[in-house]
């Protein structure tokens, strides 16, 4: 019989009796989210190569003001401060950023990965003080449902982009014909994955039916609650797949626009 004296309480950052690779999950999340934040920030600041033919990068959609044919209200507005850098993405990116930032899944993930609050389950934390989402600033996370409303609108807009990506202009005749390119499929997949993520939102689940105790008397709501609940069970999966794919969609449009990749037409 041997003896080893070890403190019972966890009282230091990273202290734990866990023998598994508990650091792997938060580290993966840290690098995954950091890579996306860095790329999307860089892409948003570019202000060019965000459209190619009928394709518009989802980072720039809807293009409220801008120089591309996709712009809804014309070029850069005169009221934009001259000392501020300009990109059409600045006007709209706050919506998907806000939606993901306040998302219940991402909250749990980045509290662990970026704040070590906690680093992982049953692992010691670096700080003793904890206020959680009980007070400012994290109490603002409760705004999530408002971002969800806006994100639902973005799904409609991005679906319209997919429709537009089915109409190709002949450079010689100027005639517009129905067709499909790899880019169309890329943008369509983006909408499917974003829909899987947005329509599985916890706030949406609550609003369509979760807030009622008697769903049996509301068959439409019961069906909606059940459908959202089904997607909600895979919320983490859709959160990551849609994050990766929305980034890839921008890369695809950018590469085609820069002439590095060729957009193959299927028909």
């Amino acid at each position: 019989m041997t003896h080893a004296t070890i403190s019972l309480k966890t009282d230091g950052f990273g202290q734990t009796a866990r023998s598994d690779a508990w650091w792997l999950q938060p580290t993966t999340v840290f690098f995954g989210l950091s890579a996306f934040i860095l790329y999307s920030t860089w892409a948003a600041f570019q202000g060019e190569h965000y459209h190619f033919g009928p394709y518009l990068s989802p980072f720039y959609s809807p293009e409220l003001f801008g120089d591309s044919p996709h712009s809804l209200f014309g070029p850069k507005p005169a009221w934009w401060f001259s000392w501020l850098p300009w990109s059409p993405a600045f006007l709209i990116l706050w919506v998907p950023v806000g939606f993901r930032l306040t998302c219940y899944y991402y909250r749990g993930a980045y509290y662990k990965a970026f704040w070590a609050d906690p680093p992982n389950c049953a692992v010691g934390e670096p700080r003793k003080r904890f206020r959680g989402e009980n007070s400012f600033p994290l109490i603002l996370q409760n705004i999530h449902r408002y971002f969800m409303y806006l994100a639902l609108g973005f799904l409609v807009i991005l679906s319209t982009d997919v429709w537009n990506a089915l109409w190709f202009e002949n450079a010689v005749t100027g005639e517009t014909t129905f067709g499909m390119g790899i880019g169309t499929l890329v943008l369509a997949t983006n909408v499917v994955l974003l829909s899987g993520y947005t329509l599985g939102c916890h706030s949406l689940r609550h609003l369509v039916g979760g807030r009622f105790d008697h769903l049996s008397k509301r068959p439409m709501r019961r069906t909606a609650y059940s459908c959202v609940g089904c997607l909600n069970q895979r919320h983490m999966l859709f959160a990551w797949m849609s994050l990766v794919w929305v980034g890839f969609s921008d890369v695809y449009v950018r590469m085609c626009s820069m002439g590095i990749w060729t957009d193959w037409r299927i028909f």
């Binding site: 019972l8 509290y111 049953a122 009980n134």
Partner: protein, 248 residues
């Protein structure tokens, strides 16, 4: 027969140490079997709380290799037996002796939650009528065996010791079972927001991960309650709409 080493916390509230015990293990054994064998053969004074050995009484909660688990539901073939298996008592609660902790705080918390308050009976014989689909949602919460592993792993209690301001995942599940019950008429949302501190939960899902009954604590209980609290306290549009329609 194969042997395995168990590194078990021995001590009380004043202090203690980890001691190694080597015992024979065989196919089908769970951690509690090994602990009881050690108790019988080598350490007659080892304190361990257990009862059903079937994962239904919630008594044998401990931390196996640092992860809160029921010892009776942790099979040895799931553990790397080439290294010593470390056994600690639940660290969130006051230690009584060895693997036994004082979980009485939980019972005091439960008393502070407004009890079930059904609407008047639907029939003259004093009974109610409910749709099965309405009750299904809360049935999941009733699987809880009160092992308090979720309370133990919750960093708000374990690390930050906020026992005065936060009731913990076990009782958020309990409140959810009451709040979502189709017959219940009580409103517990203001208490949830204030005294019971639901805002302290930062959705790390550790409670869900350790639940031996696989209750989806975070997604099905805590987040829906958080959303109900948002309805009540943080959503101005919803409050306006509620005032206009006179609904809850």
């Amino acid at each position: 027969m194969a042997k395995a080493t168990f590194r078990i916390w021995r001590g009380d509230a004043d202090g203690g140490e980890l001691r190694d015990y080597t015992t024979e293990v065989s196919e089908g054994m769970v951690v509690l079997d090994a602990v009881l064998q050690i108790q019988a053969d080598e350490a007659n004074d080892l304190a361990v709380r257990w009862n059903c050995k079937a994962g239904k009484c919630g008594s044998c909660s401990a931390e196996v290799n640092g992860v809160p688990k029921l010892m009776c539901m942790t099979r040895l073939n799931e553990l790397p037996l080439e290294k010593p298996v470390t056994l600690h008592p639940m660290k969130a609660f006051p230690l009584v002796k060895d693997l036994v902790t004082d979980v009485s705080w939980n019972f005091e918390i439960k008393k502070r939650i407004k009890p079930f308050k059904p609407r008047p009976p639907d029939a003259e014989d004093g009974t109610w009528r409910m749709a099965q689909s309405d009750v299904d949602r809360v049935m999941e919460f009733r699987k809880c065996v009160e092992c308090f592993l979720c309370q133990d792993v919750c960093h708000v209690l374990r690390e930050h010791q906020l026992f005065d301001g936060f009731i913990g995942p076990r009782f958020l599940v309990h409140v959810a079972a009451l709040e979502m019950h189709p017959l219940d008429t009580e409103n517990r949302l203001e208490a949830l927001r204030t005294d019971q501190g639901i805002g302290y939960c930062n959705i790390t899902k550790c409670c869900t991960n350790v639940c031996p009954e696989n209750i989806t604590i975070t997604d099905n209980a805590i987040i829906p309650l958080k959303e109900r609290v948002v309805d009540e306290a943080y959503d101005p549009l919803r409050r306006f709409f509620r005032k206009m329609t006179g609904g809850r």
